[in-house]
């Protein structure tokens, strides 16, 4: 496939892996965080971990929007799904995220009309096909997905669709990164920056990482060679004593992002004063809600939601996994109490979650090590 195959070339991968080996200092342990869940998935799927020297460690960051949803928000969604006549729509992974009393899939089994959609536009289509019933879209995602929701809400307003509502759970990438960097138990040498978030926000918002925290960052694509190349770029910066933002994914990511997407987001959304992140607590100005002009489409205004904060399950260590303090397999319930079929924590739910990705791919490598 064009734009894909050329970034999966094993021969080039070997060359890059060889050069990476030449860039690391023996005796120094390098710890890099891939911010985005898409990268975590690629790393495990393609075995990128296996191509790296033993002293280069990859830590999985908080970049999976499903994984950072707190239980209270799931409960709020389930409560909306049980409202009379409501058709509740959300992305597939969200269906299996546990709230304090079951998942959206459990609510579906109890009779709620919950439908999986692949895009906000699909949800709007359902609303137009069912004009007598309210249709609520449970919006999640970082800045990659937020413009899609914003455009759909604009479209609903322009077309005068009166039965379409949105429960907004969109989050922004910079505040959690800052929270992570301020965390005292974190030791990182660099970041692999999120590729598709950056097509929207650009590379500029990440300049604070080298400027204020003295950590190099390379915004990267999602093919195996992209990830290897980004690691190569970060190691080269360290070796040459540089510390800056580099754009490995320049074939797609403009330095200033997509101005139209930012404009649409600014029109439809505004920042919440604070938003709760699973395992990370409340982070200031890290979540989006609908702006006043779109209050008529805001499910949280048009319906009452419990809005009760629910503590994360005690056994679950998603928070520490998301901060990169522990590896997925170091969690007490990984693979025993918590599996993709029966997840306790959100990191085990989404395909981009560190625990699910590790459960599906990484554990085999670890089993080999143990043997």
């Amino acid at each position: 496939m064009k734009y894909v195959d050329e970034f999966r070339d094993p021969a080039l991968g070997e060359v890059l892996a060889g050069e990476i080996l030449g860039l690391v200092e023996p005796g120094h342990h390098y710890k890099f965080m891939e911010v985005c869940g898409g990268h975590t998935h690629s790393i495990y799927k393609y075995g990128i971990d296996d191509l790296l020297p033993a002293n280069v460690e990859l830590v999985h960051g908080p970049g999976c929007p499903v994984c950072v949803i707190p239980m209270g928000r799931v409960d709020d969604g389930i409560s909306l799904a049980h409202e009379p006549d409501v058709i509740f729509t959300c992305f597939g992974d969200m269906l299996r995220v546990p709230g304090s009393d079951g998942t959206l899939l459990d609510a579906k089994a109890e009779g709620a009309d919950i439908r999986m959609v692949y895009s906000p536009l699909d949800a709007l289509r359902i609303a137009k096909a069912n004009p007598d019933r309210p249709v609520i879209f449970f919006a999640i995602g970082f800045e990659t997905t937020a413009p899609s929701t914003a455009l759909t809400l604009k479209r609903a307003k322009a077309e005068g669709v009166k039965n379409f509502f949105c429960m907004c759970n969109h989050v922004t990438i910079v505040p959690p990164l800052r929270a992570l960097l301020d965390s005292p138990d974190l030791r990182l040498d660099g970041f692999i920056g999120p590729g598709h978030v950056s097509t929207v926000v650009g590379v500029r918002p990440f300049e604070f990482i080298p400027a204020e925290y003295k950590k190099p960052i390379a915004v990267a694509g999602f093919e195996p060679l992209d990830v290897l190349h980004a690691i190569h770029m970060i190691l080269t910066q360290i070796k040459e004593g540089r510390c800056e933002v580099e754009n490995q994914y320049a074939r797609v990511v403009p330095y200033d992002g997509n101005p139209r997407a930012l404009e649409v987001m600014a029109e439809v959304f505004e920042l919440r004063p604070h938003f709760e992140w699973r395992g990370m607590g409340f982070i200031s100005q890290s979540g989006l809600k609908l702006s006043e002009a779109y209050a008529d489409l805001d499910a949280e205004i048009q319906y009452s939601v419990p809005g009760i904060r629910v503590a994360d399950p005690k056994a679950c260590q998603c928070g520490e996994v998301l901060k990169g303090v522990i590896k997925p397999w170091e969690c007490k319930v990984f693979g025993s109490g918590c599996t993709p079929e029966r997840p306790i924590g959100t990191c085990m739910v989404s395909s981009e979650g560190a625990c699910a990705a590790y459960y599906n791919y990484g554990r085999f490598a670890r089993e080999r090590e143990v043997v």
């Binding site: 579906k108 990659t144 139209r260 395909s351």
Partner: protein, 87 residues
Amino acid sequence: MTRLIADAAAALAPTCDYTTGCITCGDVAIPMSVMRLDDERGLALCSDDEGNSETVEIDLVAPVAPGDKLLVHAGTAIARLTEEVSA
């Protein structure tokens, strides 16, 4: 009983496959070609290399023409792909 029904629903529901990744929940976008345009509604029918087609919101990358390559995430084109920069 509810759990049994939920399990059955889980087995039947077209959920995202966690072995291939979820296009909407993750930061995943796929290259697609524009097949046909609906200028009036600002939408395009796009197709990926495997022949799967999807109606795509093109506001963020407009104007586009049939044959253009776009990067599509959650039903919205978030970037344009060109031969020069992709090589």
